[in-house]
Amino acid sequence: MQTILDNLPLLAQGTWTTLRLLVAALLIGGLAAVPLAVLRASDVAAVSRPVWLFTYVVRGTPMLVQLFLLYYGLAQFEVIRASVLWPWLSSAWFCAIAAFAINTCAYTTEMLHGAIRALPAGEIEAAKVLGMSRRVMLRRIVLPAAFRRTLPAYGNEVVMMLHGTSLASVVTLTDLTGAARELNARFYLPFESFIGAALIYLALTLVLVNLLRAAERRWLQPLAARS
């Protein structure tokens, strides 16, 4: 126990790394997902199919594998190492954020798409009847409703991403899990190391969940059960 307290700076450093990875991945992936979800919901096959393929492949494979492919797999090829992309691809930070962002983007796209599809068709027809242009309809009717419906599931996604960042320790980054593994390796204290990390993750998650719950309370009012 004392050992853990002595090594708090290491855990703190790891936590900071975890947070940076999480925010970067969510911002990049989440923002990219909105236009992709709209494209995905299009009736035009040439527009929705490519997005479908993207989410299909990314959702269909473990993030760990995607991370390894980006980090170790690409580095195997001489051609890549000599290319202009190498300064980016050789960095573990870049590979990790890229893998996480791509992953969350695919999932968020599908969630939003599902929510858009689940809209009562009558609302869309009403919007069209009222003369709303596509853009206005999206902005005022479709997207707000879709965001609302997606909230519980997106809350899941945010938390899953927080956990996903623990994979960064597998490609040399010292995030919170990496710090715990190092403590375990150095002092042979699996219980203390991992419970310490678990408590910090718990604290981080509680903060996130409370934020999400506040958001839900505010935006899911119309959908709440009354009985």
Binding site: Y72, Q76, R81, S90, T172, N184, A185, Y188, P190
Partner: protein, 263 residues
Amino acid sequence: MNARQRLIALAALLTATHSAFAQTTPSNRLRIGVEGAYPPFSEVGPDGQLKGFDIDIARALCAQMKAECTLVQQDFDGMIPALNARKFDAIIASLSITEERKKAVAFSDKYYKTPNRMLVRTAASLVVSPAGLKGRKIGVQRATINDRFATDTFKESEIVRYAKQDEIYLDLAAGRLDATLVDAVAADTGFLKTPQGKGFGFAGPAYVDPAYFGSGVGVAVRKTDAALQQRFNEAIAAIRANGVYTQLQSKYFDFDIYGGAAR
């Protein structure tokens, strides 16, 4: 009897039959923790079978002790915690005998000893010293003696930690690392003699400081398992005497690996 009475009777029965089962390992079935990612000492072949010097030694020792052994694969940085959690009864994974480790486990006598050296790209002409490697990236396997030594000695360098030595070779070949501190024999067979190893070589001295690098590689057992420790000592002495050791050694090395310098 109603349900509650039955329950109490059962509990009483169990407590009554609580006998002092020995806390040491039942003698003839042993589980041995091995790594599987550290050629030529342990690796996994295409058929999914473990092979390597550590594996052969493990099997030879078990045969000598007339014990039925199961090999259990474990990542290196979880070896000692797993042993103490009774996942297996002994570790044969090129674990060096150091004072620090002796606080957590008990060791048998050594079964080999090799030097540790810094592996670098020869063209880079790096000077292997704390000053010479300032700002450079040194890769080490987590929880190894190399990890400890590099962390404490090369304070101005960036120490990058990996779960497997294989991953270090990949990153060294890709140019993500400038150097790695590693067992010389393992690096020679596992990397230098492979196609990726072209253009790489050892630099700097052979590290033998016993404080870090210990006095050789041994079999680790739980501290409460003195009897098992003794059995392993006897078995090691036996296979060295009856030629089995020499035979296994010559499969992999054309020099004597018992004496020498240190994982």
